[in-house]
């Protein structure tokens, strides 16, 4: 009789211990990397792409002029859909203007300027966060219709694959060599800025589609 009591007491103790152990369980955060990683600065800019462009005349005064000349500011300030905006800094815009042998963007055929700007707005969000962009180039839909609108984009995830840019991880590359016929490769100088209406990547030159060396590009 006493023996049975002892047995049941052991069972009771084991059960209580087990219950206590499980009651203390709580979901823990996932294991972090062993190596220390610094925190990134907040990429969000709490304004539209248009407001951001105007807030940085030191970098985008010429592009602002181009957008105003083309009457396309609404594309940069809309909040209905998310766009990926490919900004061209003043260096790139100056080269674009010089290509036409003129001094200001207003001396270029406005249709050419519109096409250029349309080519630099992509439907959807493509950036380095949340697996929104692979490391292999993909075709995306720009606002420029037809074959001239063909554009590929990718993100670099290691310095080994980075192309001529100070940014390695997260650098955005347009028209990677051989990914889009003979189009010239462009590499971002600033990337993954998050305005309220999409994403902004900044490039030091104008990208354009070119099927082959003899192809007359749209702009």
């Amino acid at each position: 009789m006493e023996m049975n009591f002892l047995k049941y007491r052991r069972v009771l103790l084991f059960t209580i211990t087990l219950f206590t152990v499980f009651c203390s369980c709580k979901k823990l955060p996932l294991q972090k990397d062993y190596d220390f990683k610094g925190e990134t600065v907040d990429p969000h800019v709490k304004m539209t792409a248009w407001a951001f462009m105007q807030s940085r005349p030191d970098a985008f005064s010429l592009m602002t002029e181009a957008v105003n000349y083309a009457g396309m500011s609404s594309f940069y300030e809309q909040m209905d859909v998310k766009y990926t905006y490919l900004f061209i800094n003043n260096t790139g815009m100056a080269a674009f203007i010089a290509k036409y042998g003129v001094l200001t963007v207003q001396n270029i055929d406005v249709e050419k300027v519109k096409k250029m700007l349309r080519y630099h707005i992509i439907e959807g969000e493509y950036h380095a966060y949340d697996k929104k962009l692979p490391v292999e180039p993909i075709y995306v839909k720009t606002l420029l219709a037809g074959e001239d609108g063909l554009l590929t984009i990718k993100v670099n995830k290691s310095s080994a694959g980075s192309i001529g840019s100070p940014i390695a991880n997260g650098n955005i590359v347009l028209n990677l060599l051989n990914s889009n016929y003979s189009s010239v490769t462009s590499s971002s100088v600033t990337s993954n800025l998050m305005p309220l209406n999409g994403v902004i990547h900044v490039f030091p030159n104008v990208a354009y589609y070119r099927r082959d060396a003899n192809y007359a590009s749209a702009f």
Partner: protein, 523 residues
């Protein structure tokens, strides 16, 4: 035993309990249905190109994609092409497909299903440009046939057409023959179009073997066709000097005459043998001696030339066959000119003893005798030597016989009682005049000079003008000089012309060597 079983059961219960978690369920009802956005509204593959634009579009799905199916519609039938169930980003998927196009493709269908099981599809039309054949080149005849044995050369017009499935961008014609490849100009001029018709009279000749036509279309497709040419030729007429007639120059006095004889043969018959007189560059037919024939194949031709005149430089005889082809013989005429061709003359090294290989060749030249003499002969017969040939450190010099080279041993032979030339006494040596002929200064050259030319006032004035260093020094092969022998010369006063044909200087002794020289002397 019962206790153990109880413990196991309780443990299993808790383990199972610990794995239980309520599945998270997302409310997708407020998300938008998938959206398929084509980058190109129509795909237009061209089977003639290797670099067609791929089929590209982007599928957006706010709820996330479950699958993307792709189908191809060919000949009205839909076939599965590809299904994608795994996505790097299931909210925006980039489609890039490059099927092996063929002309049965009609459309490409994309069916997107999102996690809310909403299905959206889009059909992208495909317009295929069919494979276009390379240009077609058609000749109007299978070959060009020309047979001289027929007695007439009948060359047909060359005609061909080029037809392209797309616009022609280039047509080139080349004639392949014994002389190599010759481009043939297009007639009419090429204009880019679907067709081109060539029509031209090409004068083919013996040795031509093919006409090659190359046509290129807008796709870069090239077609090359060859039109064979069969040109059966027979030899041109043969003309051979016979009897006493040779190809050597005729050296004769004006007013005299000579008869030239030849044999002429032709497989299709001789048509004519024409004789011409060449007065420098002027060709004058001697119609009195030219003859016409009907179909004779072997002819013994004899031409009694009219009396020679001093302006004639050559005679030309041309035999024509029945096809108009000809064979020409030129015989140089030296009227009132004495001629010594390719005479070997030694340098001053050979003033006394000749080279065993060239016995009798010394440096002292006699215009009258057209040969060289040694120092001893010069010393004893001074009027007979007009000039001597000298290497000044290997450079050519032409000296009149009266020129001294003081102190040089070659110019004397003291053991044999011949003093150095500067010490010669007695009979004077000839003071021959030598003047270099500047190329282009006269309307004649060494080859066509006449005695009239040499006797002209211009030449006489020039040859008697003061000599400068360039007149006797630094001649090179091919250069020409005038000379005039002195009144004391055994030849008398004669005006002549010399051409230095070649020079050989011994590399070990630059005073030793030979000249090869040609002389013409007006009589």
């Amino acid at each position: 035993m019962k206790l153990k079983q109880l413990l196991i059961l309780i443990s299993a219960f808790f383990i199972l309990l610990s794995g239980c978690k309520k599945k998270e369920e997302t409310d997708l009802s407020n998300t938008k249905a998938p959206e398929i956005k084509a980058i190109l509204d129509v795909i237009e593959p061209d089977l003639n190109k290797a670099d067609n634009v791929p089929l590209v579009c982007v599928v957006f799905a706010e709820a996330g994609l479950k699958s993307v199916q792709m189908k191809i519609v060919k000949n009205g039938k839909e076939t599965d092409y590809k299904t994608v169930n795994e996505f790097y980003d299931n909210k925006q998927y980039s489609v890039k497909e490059l099927p092996i196009w063929d002309e049965t493709f009609q459309s490409f269908k994309i069916i997107a299903t999102d996690l809310a099981n909403r299905i959206v599809e889009k059909t992208i039309p495909i317009t295929v440009t069919k494979y276009l054949a390379a240009p077609v080149i058609t000749f109007s005849q299978p070959e060009i046939m020309i047979d001289e044995n027929t007695g007439t050369i009948n060359i047909p017009r060359t005609m061909f057409t080029v037809t392209g499935a797309s616009k022609l961008t280039k047509v080139e014609v080349s004639l392949f023959g014994a002389a190599g490849i010759t481009p043939v100009p297009l007639n009419p001029l090429f204009v880019s179009d679907l067709t081109y018709a060539f029509d031209q009279e090409i004068i083919y000749k013996a040795g031509d073997n093919a006409l090659q036509v190359s046509a290129t279309d807008a796709y870069g497709k090239v077609k090359i066709e060859t039109l064979p040419i069969k040109y059966i030729s027979i030899p041109a007429p043969m003309l051979t000097p016979s009897g006493t007639t040779t190809l050597d120059p005729i050296i004769a006095a004006s007013g005299t005459s000579r008869t030239l004889t030849f044999t002429a043969t032709s497989a299709i018959g001789i048509n004519a043998i024409r004789v011409y007189r060449l007065d420098k560059n002027t060709l004058i037919e001697l119609t009195s001696v030219s003859k016409l024939y009907s179909t004779e194949k072997n002819i013994a031709f004899s031409a009694a030339l009219p009396p020679f005149n001093a302006n004639t430089t050559a005679y030309r005889v041309i035999a024509f066959d029945q096809l108009g082809r000809s064979t020409t013989i030129d015989i140089q005429a030296l009227i009132d000119l004495d001629y010594n061709s390719m005479a070997r003359i030694g340098s001053q090294f050979y003033s006394k003893v000749a080279d065993p290989a060239f016995p009798g060749i010394y440096c002292f030249y006699s215009v009258k005798d057209k040969k060289t003499y040694n120092l001893s002969q010069f010393y004893t017969n001074r009027p007979n030597i007009d000039m001597y040939f000298y290497f000044f450190g290997g450079a050519v010099r032409l000296y009149q016989a009266s020129t001294n080279r003081p102190g040089e041993a070659w110019s004397g032979d003291l053991p044999n009682s011949i003093p150095l030339m500067e010490n010669w006494t007695g009979t004077a040596r000839n003071n021959t005049k030598i003047k270099k002929l500047t190329p282009g200064a006269y309307a004649f050259n060494f080859d066509n000079v006449t005695s009239t030319d040499l006797k002209s006032t211009a030449v006489q004035t020039y040859v008697n003008s003061a000599q400068v260093t360039a007149d006797f020094a630094n001649y090179v092969a091919g250069e020409v000089a005038f000379f005039q022998t002195a009144a004391t010369s055994t030849s008398g006063v004669k005006t002549g012309i010399i051409r230095i044909e070649s020079i050989t200087v011994d590399p070990a002794n630059n005073t030793k060597g030979f000249y090869v020289v040609s002389f013409k002397v007006a009589q």
